[in-house]
Amino acid sequence: MVEAATHHVDKNIKNIDFVDIGKSIVARPEFFSFIALVILVVATSFSNENFLTVDNLMNITRQVSITAIIAVGMTFVILTGGIDLSVGAIVALSSTVMAGMITNMGFPFWLASSLAVVAGMLVGLTSGVFIARFALPPIIVTLAMMEIPRGMGLLYTNGYPLPIDRVFGYLGREYVLGIPIPTLMMLAVFAVAYVILNRLPIGRYVYAVGGNEDAAILSGIRTGRIKLMVYAISGVTAGIAGVIQTSRLLSGQPNSAIGMELDAIAAVVLGGTSIAGGRGHIFGTLIGALLLGVLNNSLNMIGLSPYSQRIVKGVILLIAVLFGFLRKPNRK
């Protein structure tokens, strides 16, 4: 009854992302996070003159880069309606693999870091096989995969950090054109993810699997492959994060990144991606990760204790999700 009688197609609208269509910016679920981010930046810059400096902002982006890169893979997984709890453990495994290859085996940096990423991908593929092929719930499979890679890392290093030579700290510590390399890598990962999700058929299939799996199957989409792929991607991004971390810390750390999966999930959710799958945007995830990073940084600058910081973070997460919920048009 609200349909117009004509059925012409609007030819003026070009190249719009295919979900979230017809929604104004204000109606997007990540809008709250964006506003919160702006408010936080403005408020902190008034209260502390050291906040709004190039150095500090660069520092923030480098700090968030590891979480943000993991959150990219997590976005793929959550868009299909899944979840990946294993990413923190993958970071630890990737980190020990890399340090071991360099220190114990004398592999060159490029080979060691590539193998670390491959290790991450293999863990992701393993989760993917159990989830796609045997239809096990992602939360259970990746819960198990939280244990196995970390156990392997601990076993390999006997539980101790495995140091690498200072020369391998370039990737994690240096700058190109004044921008930290981890920040550049983060932007590159986001750019690749954007292209995959928005410009390649396979990206559409990721949304389709989360939007309606039954319909996706009947539309000829090989949903099993898509699921396998997203967990592999999540493994790869966690692997990359492990490489950056190792280079930054100059050691393989089997005990690192504990709880990192929750930060990544928080970034994705703050970024407006629906935890049920099918809706969301990769740039929302960037906003979510930045919000978390700025929050950490500014709360530190304000001088809030780390204990109170956790409370503030939890409250913000709740408000953001509530805000997204209240904005839903079809809410009863």
């Binding site: 197609v9 017809g22 559409r204 039954d214 319909a215 000829g220």
Partner: protein, 497 residues
């Protein structure tokens, strides 16, 4: 007596109900008809407190009431059974019936025995029979509906709203439902009966009201106007003939497009049948006859025990819907929302999702231009009514959503399309359009399968009809044999059944 007076309901940008006044007397059946989007369901949601009217009032026995949720309306004696049931699938019938209103023993524990006993009495009083201990997920749709009806009527119920109760029932089950409604009538329950099936209304209703575009256009005793007049009131124009004329095509001696030599899945016989180019093959049968299951097995969605299929004379494996689609076989599901549409996506994305491989540029990226052109072409061809294909598909009416799914299959260049209940829940006008499209597609040389529980539809559009029962094909009918008597005879197990 239940009265709704001058009910008006606005949604952002839409006047969903405008000044509607309806009356329901106890012990009467009042049918409410209208095309999809006419406002029937909205009106019933106002009545049950799901929506709040912007204007107007509801009176029970001349006393104004204002239910703000279904629980309150239930307390007032108004119960509504929506098209989509609200049963907990893993609980059994009596657990569902007493859900939230459980009978407890003096110790506060569940008194299963009393609940069972009361549920059994209710079943007997309505003369329906099914196991009370089985999870409702394992009951048939008709049985689930009975559970809903008992759940609604076992406590105080003076007025019952049935929203499209017959949409998924077989003719025999519909008869049974009418018997139940008549028993409720004799208990002095008043019923609002919402249906697209006008012939049913003449069997069961005392009064009929017509809504159109949110306005109340007619109320009168059922005898006061005939079916054609009713349709004219619903659509605001006269639709004399819903079915386009069948062109008798000389298709019988053509080599089959799809030759299914052996198809067996769990619980079925070994099926074999053929589909020819340019023909519309109907698949009739009662719910549970294995029609949908057969075709889901055929396209590789569900597992099979035996499968030997030839497409244009060449054997094909059809291990997955992906393979089926790649071979040019498309399946359009009966439940559009559950397995057809991507509700959060735009109309455009819904149309091109199966043919993204065709709208790529030379670098393998999705070309926005080609995508827009494809979507625009099929929106024109299917006459999908929308102002922009970037609207979310959930904003379309049921008929236009179905057209969008058809467009998706057409965009893949299919040679065989399997339609499962193509017009279920679709209004009269859009139905007629879809029938014309089926004919056009067949004339273009596609093979068309129509699985349908709607007998007039099967009879009106199909060139050949397979009748299924209990996982086997009981008859193949052609020409004048395609009539309701024959179909029902084989579907219900007559003649060696």
């Amino acid at each position: 007596m239940l009265e709704m007076k001058h009910i008006t309901k606005r949604f952002p940008g839409v006047l969903a109900l405008s000044d509607i006044s309806l009356t329901l007397e106890r012990g009467r059946v009042h049918a409410v008809v209208g095309e999809n989007g006419a406002g029937k369901s909205t009106l019933m949601k106002v009545l049950s407190g799901v929506y709040k009217a912007d204007d107007g009032e509801i009176l029970i026995d001349s006393k104004p009431v204002q239910p703000t949720n279904t629980r309150e309306s239930q307390k007032l004696g108004i119960n509504i059974i929506f098209q989509e049931f609200s049963l907990v699938p893993y609980l059994n019938a009596y657990e569902n019936i007493f859900l939230g209103r459980e009978i407890r023993s003096p110790l506060g524990l569940l008194d299963r025995r009393s609940m069972r006993h009361k549920a059994r009495e209710a079943l007997d009083s309505l003369n329906v029979h099914f196991p009370l201990d089985r999870a409702v997920a394992d009951l048939t749709v008709a049985e689930q509906q009975s559970v809903e009806i008992i759940k609604a009527t076992i406590f105080k119920c003076d007025y019952l709203v049935l929203d499209e109760p017959t949409a998924t029932l077989t003719p025999r089950e519909v008869e049974k439902l009418f018997e139940v409604i008549n028993r409720l009538k004799s208990r002095d329950v008043g019923c609002f009966f919402i249906s697209h099936h006008l012939d049913e209304i003449y069997q069961i209703a005392d009064t009929v009201s017509v809504l159109r575009d949110g306005a109340h256009v007619f109320t009168g005793p059922i005898g006061s106007c005939n079916q054609d007049e009713l349709i004219a009131k619903m659509v605001g124009r006269s639709v004399t003939q819903a079915f386009p004329p069948k062109r008798r095509r000389p298709v019988t001696d053509a080599a089959p497009l799809l030759d299914v030599r052996k198809l067996k899945f769990h619980g079925s016989d070994r099926l074999s049948f053929q589909i020819r180019k340019g023909e519309i093959l109907g698949v009739a049968g009662l719910v549970g006859a294995g029609r949908t299951e057969s075709f889901l097995a055929l396209i590789g969605k569900d597992p099979t025990e035996e499968k030997e299929v030839y497409l244009n004379g060449k054997p094909i494996a059809l291990r997955s819907p992906h393979e089926a689609l790649a071979s040019g076989i498309g399946y359009l599901p009966e439940d559009r929302k559950k397995s057809g549409l991507f509700l959060p996506f735009s109309i455009r994305s819904n149309i091109v999702i199966s043919s993204l491989g065709r709208v790529k540029d030379r670098f393998g990226f999705v070309s926005a231009r080609k995508e827009r052109e494809t979507s625009g072409r099929y929106i024109d061809r299917m006459r999908i009514r929308t102002t922009s294909d970037l609207k979310t598909v959930s904003e379309l009416s049921g008929g236009n959503q179905q057209k969008a799914i058809i467009a998706r299959s057409l965009a893949t260049d299919c040679q065989l399309l399997i339609f499962d209940e193509p017009t279920r829940g679709i209004d009269v006008g859009a139905k007629a359009e879809i029938y014309v499209m089926l004919q056009e597609l067949a004339e273009q040389g596609l093979g068309i399968v129509v699985i349908s529980s709607d007998l007039p539809e099967v009879i009106g559009v199909c060139d050949r009809v397979l009748v299924m029962r209990y996982g086997s094909i009981r008859a193949e009918l052609t020409g004048p044999d395609i009539n309701s008597e024959k179909i029902m005879l084989y579907a219900s197990g007559g003649e060696n059944g």
